[in-house]
């Protein structure tokens, strides 16, 4: 089910009353709210992150394999880092190429319908001017159009991959560079 405008406005209004996370664990969790894929994180470029390595245990055995092939310790370490980054980019691409759920879309309606809905909505004592109401209606209508443009929704997946392209380019360039044998 698509979300109704009434539900959306009520959710937003309730969210304004929140005083944010209180506990340390909650604060730590919310600190990651803006994290999308972590591909730009500094830790990835400086050294192999042990937490990430635990997700891809086979990469550790690759280092031994590279050493046995004649790569130096430092080179094999760099190569494993490059492989890890490439793998993360691949995974980010797979999870980014998704269709938007209907819960994240506003139901289709006309601008007139939206304006009349907003007129009915809210406390009669609220001092919302017709100009303010019209602005909110226009903003919501823009989102309604975006959410109901099916070709636009299809393109959102490509757009997600376009945003990952620079990480992809860097990851595979690094992988190629690090795999070259040096003496």
């Amino acid at each position: 089910m698509k979300i109704s405008v009434e539900k959306l406005v009520a959710n937003r209004a309730n969210a304004q009353k929140s005083s944010g996370p209180q506990t340390k664990a909650g604060k730590l969790r919310s600190a990651k709210n803006a994290l999308k894929h972590g591909l730009g994180a500094q830790s990835l470029n400086s050294s192999v992150n042990p937490t990430l390595l635990s997700h891809f245990p086979e990469l550790e055995s690759y280092q031994q394999e590279l050493i046995s092939l004649g790569y130096s310790d430092a080179q094999s370490q760099e190569m494993v880092e490059a492989l890890l980054t490439a793998r993360q980019v691949t995974e980010a691409k797979h999870s980014a190429y998704t269709d938007r759920l209907n819960d994240e879309r506003l139901a289709d309606m006309t601008l007139e319908g939206m304006t009349s809905l907003l007129r009915e909505f809210g406390d009669p004592a609220a001092t919302v001017t017709p100009t303010e109401r019209a602005r909110v209606a226009a903003l919501l209508f823009k989102q309604v159009q975006k959410d109901n443009n099916l070709s636009g929704l299809l393109f959102e997946k490509f757009e997600a991959h376009r945003k990952l392209m620079r990480y992809e380019q860097r990851a595979f360039n690094q992988l190629c560079k690090k795999s070259q044998v040096k003496k």
């Binding site: 004649g70 269709d99 209907n102 099916l150 003496k183």
Partner: protein, 195 residues
């Protein structure tokens, strides 16, 4: 497509879990004699890039067809009925464009919608492509990126595969250079002692 989504878009997400994806990767691995370890990892990455090329090309076509469907859909159509109508157009257009025969009812539905907008199949497609130039450019750049990734991965594969031979060759070259230098030093010593 999962049931919880009302829009029946052509492809489902999370490709890495799909059997088709796994089959594709296994097929590419077999063509490289099933390498393991680092080489296997590199071949899997290559297979992934090839997979995306296929998906992008398929979805690029779906995007054009969806644009065609949105063009024939009436502007006054609003709500879930409009979405269902657009999706029906999409299905009919996809079948018609791929040369498949439509049910007479679907054919009539499509013809009347196109006629109302003054289009035939070819002109509608041309209009959709013209209106999607920016989006299509992005998709072409994504496809190009996959080819570049494949080339870089191929180079990495060659580097790792021939690393032992290359190191041996470099080792021999260094030994040869060392011997040459030692010989020069020895010659110089002999010359000095002769004088």
């Amino acid at each position: 497509m999962a049931d919880h989504k009302e829009i029946n878009l052509p492809q489902s997400a999370s490709y890495s879990n799909l059997p088709e994806y796994q089959d594709h990767v296994n097929q590419i691995l077999s063509s490289y004699d099933l390498p393991e370890g680092v080489l296997g990892e590199l071949v899997r990455q290559m297979a992934d890039a090839m997979w995306w090329v296929k998906i992008y090309q398929k979805d690029k076509d779906h995007l054009i067809v969806m644009k065609m469907a949105m063009l024939v859909k009436s502007r006054s159509d609003v709500g879930m009925d409009a979405e269902e109508k657009a999706l029906r157009f999409f299905d009919c257009l996809l079948h018609a464009w791929s040369g498949q025969e439509l049910e007479p009812e679907d054919q009539a539905f499509l013809d009347s919608a196109m006629r109302s907008k003054g289009h035939n199949l070819a002109s509608l497609r041309a209009d959709a492509v013209r209106r999607s130039v920016k989006e299509l450019e992005v998709i072409d750049r994504l496809i190009e990126r996959q080819f570049k990734n494949m080339r870089l991965l191929m180079q990495s594969y060659e580097s790792v595969r021939f690393a032992p031979q290359l190191l041996k060759k470099m080792d021999l070259q260094i030994k040869q250079l060392e011997q040459g230098i030692e010989k020069n030093i020895e010659d110089q010593r002999r010359e000095v002692s002769r004088q």
